[in-house]
């Protein structure tokens, strides 16, 4: 355990299900002497990445809330896409959850979401949540823009039920790429269906998707063209705004650099 990993391993213990740990628990879990963990935890408390709670428990610190905010207000994808999610929800013919998601390591992470107020069911798509790479339209619209060795590497890390499954997945990917959008049914949450389009910006290294999720029960075939049209329109709009934000950033850096 060295470098940043030393700290990361501790942070990775914290989850929604288990959000507070004592030093002794951490020490056992990482098989590291408690005197060492005490020192590291103290450092992280100073930096506000951890904070002490009651008992002798520690939990994630407010630094995450602060940096999350900075991302929310400066990340080009979130900045460009967030404002459109509500509009998309309002224009969809039936009640929906609308999601911006992107690649995060070997998973897909939701970075912004808007649920119509009338949408009842809980979905797995909420900001900050990791999603499987190979299930759901949201994820598929992201990987369908990746090709070659990179795609191969990503796919090889996944556990397909069978070789048959893998073949089908790759075939679907191809046809979705041609169609320009994805559709899946119940792959992530039962009773829900998803439509998605790709969002990308090479210069900014953005590989993402915009998706709308509906209750299967609400859905009629006649809705499909409207859903598709909405996603396509807003998808392009988001890409356009990402570009504008990119140019702003460039201009800003140019200015700050020339001043120096």
């Amino acid at each position: 355990m060295s470098g940043f990993q030393r700290y990361k391993k501790i942070l990775d213990l914290f989850s929604e299900e288990r959000s507070s740990w004592t030093v002794l628990e951490i020490s056992k879990s990482l098989k590291t002497p408690s005197s060492t963990i005490y020192r590291i935890v103290r450092e992280m408390v100073t930096a506000e990445f951890l904070e002490s709670a009651s008992g002798s428990y520690f939990r994630l610190g407010p630094a995450f809330i602060k940096f999350n905010r900075i991302i929310k207000f400066s990340d080009p994808l979130v900045r460009a896409g967030q404002p459109f999610l509500k509009k998309l929800a309002n224009e969809n013919p039936i009640t929906s959850v609308n999601v911006l998601a992107r690649l995060y390591g070997n998973n897909v992470m939701c970075v912004a979401d808007y649920k119509s107020p009338s949408f009842k069911k809980n979905t797995s798509y909420q900001r900050g949540k990791l999603m499987p790479l190979i299930y759901g339209a949201t994820s598929r619209a992201i990987i369908m823009q990746i090709t070659g060795k990179r795609l191969e590497d990503l796919i090889n890390l996944e556990n397909f039920k069978s070789d048959e499954d893998k073949k089908n997945f790759l075939k679907d990917l191809k046809s979705d790429r041609k169609k320009g959008y994805c559709f899946t049914e119940g792959q992530v949450d039962k009773g829900l269906i998803g439509f998605a389009v790709s969002i990308s910006n090479k210069k900014l290294g953005i590989e993402a998707s915009l998706s709308s999720i509906f209750n299967l029960d609400d859905f009629l075939l006649e809705h499909e063209p409207i859903i598709y049209a909405n996603l396509t329109t807003y998808g392009l709009l988001v890409e356009k705004y990402i570009n504008e934000i990119f140019e702003d950033i460039q201009k800003y850096h140019h200015e700050t650099n020339s001043i120096r």
Copy 2:
């Protein structure tokens, strides 16, 4: 520069105004050789605390979104208070911004906010934003629950305009403590007024506040008792829920510990 500080110093460069940096810029800014920064940045990219953007720029990584989510769904204060903010907004006699805030080092940080849809002005109170310790009702309701040496230490770090100012501040603090709530006018945002009550839980180490912010123009004296009653009621309710969450956590840890 050693330990976690090594990493923290880099992260602290990133802000809403300046959200992407090249290695060379970081290197200059921290007066550290670029070969060192390259290594550190690479580590942080692997851990997803940074990510590479276009050009040779780096920005904050998705790890913050992930951990922020875990906090949002597990932090007792946020979990207990978040659901009441909207209710509070709806029961207030005039349009409002409603905020949960807590101590964060030597500042106050907003950890949850709900703005009535009809509230026009932008306020400084948004989740993740740091606020001054000595201005605004939101902050005052937090420090008014701190006493003795701890209070002294906190206050001594602040720059008061004059000794007179400091005296007045301490006097106001005393009288607010007696009244049980705070009121300030235009200390943070011009044209806005704030009311706040304390939220605390010793066992969980929570020193926080619940506040409602209004447009001065909308406000009539007859609103005051209603505002005060709402804040007090919801403040107590939030504290009650924090307590319940605390007991849940205790039970959970008791179970998981006895299993082992």
